[in-house]
Symmetry: D2
Subunit: 302 residues, 4 copies
Amino acid sequence: YVKVLGSYPAKVTRVTPQPGTVRPPADSIESVVTAPTVAKSTGRLVDRATRAGDTVVRVGDVLVGEGFVVMAGPCSVESPEQIFAAARAVRDAGAHVLRGGVFKPRTSPYAFQGLGWEGLELLAAAGKEAGLPIVTEVMAVEQVARMAETADILQVGARNMQNFDLLRALGRVDRPVLLKRGLSSTIDEWLAAAEYILSAGNQQVILCERGIRTFESATRNTLDLSAVPVLRERTHLPIIVDPSHGTGNRRYVDPMSRAARAVGSHGLLIEVHPEPDTALSDADQSIDFRQFAALMGGLADG
Amino acid sequence: YVKVLGSYPAKVTRVTPQPGTVRPPADSIESVVTAPTVAKSTGRLVDRATRAGDTVVRVGDVLVGEGFVVMAGPCSVESPEQIFAAARAVRDAGAHVLRGGVFKPRTSPYAFQGLGWEGLELLAAAGKEAGLPIVTEVMAVEQVARMAETADILQVGARNMQNFDLLRALGRVDRPVLLKRGLSSTIDEWLAAAEYILSAGNQQVILCERGIRTFESATRNTLDLSAVPVLRERTHLPIIVDPSHGTGNRRYVDPMSRAARAVGSHGLLIEVHPEPDTALSDADQSIDFRQFAALMGGLADG
Amino acid sequence: YVKVLGSYPAKVTRVTPQPGTVRPPADSIESVVTAPTVAKSTGRLVDRATRAGDTVVRVGDVLVGEGFVVMAGPCSVESPEQIFAAARAVRDAGAHVLRGGVFKPRTSPYAFQGLGWEGLELLAAAGKEAGLPIVTEVMAVEQVARMAETADILQVGARNMQNFDLLRALGRVDRPVLLKRGLSSTIDEWLAAAEYILSAGNQQVILCERGIRTFESATRNTLDLSAVPVLRERTHLPIIVDPSHGTGNRRYVDPMSRAARAVGSHGLLIEVHPEPDTALSDADQSIDFRQFAALMGGLADG
Amino acid sequence: YVKVLGSYPAKVTRVTPQPGTVRPPADSIESVVTAPTVAKSTGRLVDRATRAGDTVVRVGDVLVGEGFVVMAGPCSVESPEQIFAAARAVRDAGAHVLRGGVFKPRTSPYAFQGLGWEGLELLAAAGKEAGLPIVTEVMAVEQVARMAETADILQVGARNMQNFDLLRALGRVDRPVLLKRGLSSTIDEWLAAAEYILSAGNQQVILCERGIRTFESATRNTLDLSAVPVLRERTHLPIIVDPSHGTGNRRYVDPMSRAARAVGSHGLLIEVHPEPDTALSDADQSIDFRQFAALMGGLADG
């Protein structure tokens, strides 16, 4: 009973899912854009009350919102060797989606900014070889169209959660969007950000809890697992958890992954690197292949 | 019914409990009190590195730090009917310790402040009938000695985590102490607070994560489950989780309890009330008997 | 030793670089863009140590970084009557720059989103009539070029502080940028965001403290005035304060404005509306003309 | 209108009970103690609405709540030389009250805990020689009575703001209480804590903002100056500001002191030490005699 697949046109979407639709017909965009007015009077599109059943986002053969989906791979795509090795390793350990950043939002302009489009080609090739769909971050409106041609899921990073122009642009493409929670965003603000995407037409949104900013410094962020039951109550959208950014420490990724599954989330987003200590970004929080395999084994046993 | 084990020397604790010891011999206190100087030079007493193996706190037949221990009962003891009913219900559902507040730290001086010593007698009687040891909060130095005669575990509330005189006083009795994390205390400050107790002689400390204060208002506090793996790495003391205060919402107690176990904690502290909506304190976050039984069943299956 | 980094006269700005500027104009952008490599080895461009004296940003006849500059006007441009009345009123009371939003970042997609380019024309006309330069928020890369033709200062809102593509785009135009602090950004992250602009060529950045997100709910945000002395120590860039967003309450705008001046900031950004209670956005925190005149009088007396 | 509010019992009052007190002395204790019930139905005793005019707390010749009062001295009393030198220096620079800690709440049990009662004698002697009343922190219920005989103002530290037994005990003595805000206490919780003191009889409470805990680490805490106008609106009690703890950095004490006065507070609490770098506690945030004299001069000019 998969309920949601494609998203266009909006009025049709929720009644009659269009199996097999990969791209929306260009002329249906306008009618979708007018949807918000209706939605506003009857509750938001993201609200659980406005939709019967849970939204399930289909990515190739993967259903996000049913079962437990693991997306894994390096923080940044760094080289062909690195990403192909990672793709095979996470696939062999049981991951369902390959992650890898190619445009990196970095606090400092002098830090490694990612391989860009060239990195995306590498990621796509590695995913294809391993038989895994891919997810990568989109940072700017002008990247959306081109990235939507190659990536299976478009990720919005925490810093861009309220980049409303980007959200609107993502609402006009027919690709699933993985929307990370902002560093200090309330759950209500997060859902309002998702509403920007849904109200522009695209119903395929996956929420991702990745930790919030608090006074505690023992972890990079404070992973707010209570957001999962709160969201499951308030919205029909699927929710996954990123324990890598949530803790910022590879030693805590395994126990927090177990907790994320136990609390009722729909999956994980995990940073895995062939040699974490040499990673160009997020070295501290990346786990290696062996650790990832152990983590997946633990989840299977749990 | 001997509930309290001595704590010195540490190596002996888990191997050969000293039956019958209710108070440490006076002359041993002094040697303990001088311990800090030594401890300081070689690391704190709370640090994992200073002790081989995990600390297990024995409370009657219950071992906190081995297996998974559930402490449950009402926020406040309100009447004989209420506490006896609660004691039986939580016992029947599988709880190991009965909780109940008799001195209540309340934000407003005009709020219900608890039944005091009379409430403690009720709690003790209910625990005895149900065959459960009891835990209750101690709010002031002058309550310590009298409360230690009746309660099996003395709880320090979040607001008193850095009430150093209270901590020192608790360090001089031979009763296990359940030390809750302060609302905005870092993990390091929390361990330093525990060190006040250990350095004064009492080694029987149980840490309890109960949520920290953040900007998010969807939950009363933000339950920081990542504190569990951080603490398991840094200290040998057992760690339990309070999902009732951590979320402030009865609907989130069950999923967060599952997560707390999955993440590796040693147990739970849960508010259970015969009729939560009529509770004199913490009504929103208390679950009823049926919900508690379901929660325990879920943990057994999980 | 005042290093006024020019951008004026506005009409000439992008065509004819001003004589005397220390930073290279149009045709030397490339050399500027390569600067980061050098800068990185010797400290960032934003760092106080890398530049002798304070940066003073010239906006028409207004010098931001010398004396005390007040920017005032409505949160949103709503109508010709409203913005022309506001322009005259804030000018008469002594304001130096007219503010007004035309593209509004709103949490909900269904909230008033601003009048857009039409609003910008109104704002520009009102500023021209009153003889005041204007500041307005730019939300997207594709708005930058067009907005730079009309607005005297381009504002980056708190939610976009780490929208790095937007920052880079602003680094390539010859217009002063007012960079607001992110809701939960550290001072270091804020300076790193400014570095994105400076490292791309544009040296004319004004920092604006507007409150951070904390647990306190008596005010909308917590205005962090200590950021002013911290920044004055760490950077040569000018710093102004926004007590309207900082408190979210019109009754606190006056005392916090006095405090902002006393602490050593270079100016204020204040929301002023003809009839605050009818404002389409930020009604609670806007002050009326009479209150603004009183505030300016108090600053003059202080 | 007379604002000085005495309390009870009059016998421990230092010199002579204040003439003109509007609150009942000795023999009306009962009526005061029963006041809360009445107060509750009509608003709290701390609320502005329940009292005409501002509360002014008299400390010797010093009136806190009128004009601008500066309390200064070392974090800890360390030696006769240190405290006598500090007393003279702060007196000569214009301070009105001498501060000095003798019982120190320290995160670690191994840190310097203060000189205790011996330190209090030194502080009292130094204050007497300099002609300044003294303020020092009381940490425990059992210290209250003895400390009230010697100290002119009893300070409650941030960690004890919700030590309700201590608050109640302070409500029963006739000494002004300086109540610091808790590290993560909302303004409402702070006023509720003050209500514990007022409702127990003692009306002489001075509130002290000392910074709240946030994610920002450039300062030790975030001094929330907006708390001053919020409090002036909500309560009749006087409010002072502690820029030393609020910033944790001596270089920011001067500008934040100016801001604290500009925002409308009733005074300052500042750490001054003969040789800050050698201080046994809070070395980073203490200023020396010369810096304090400059600060006082700046306030006089401002």
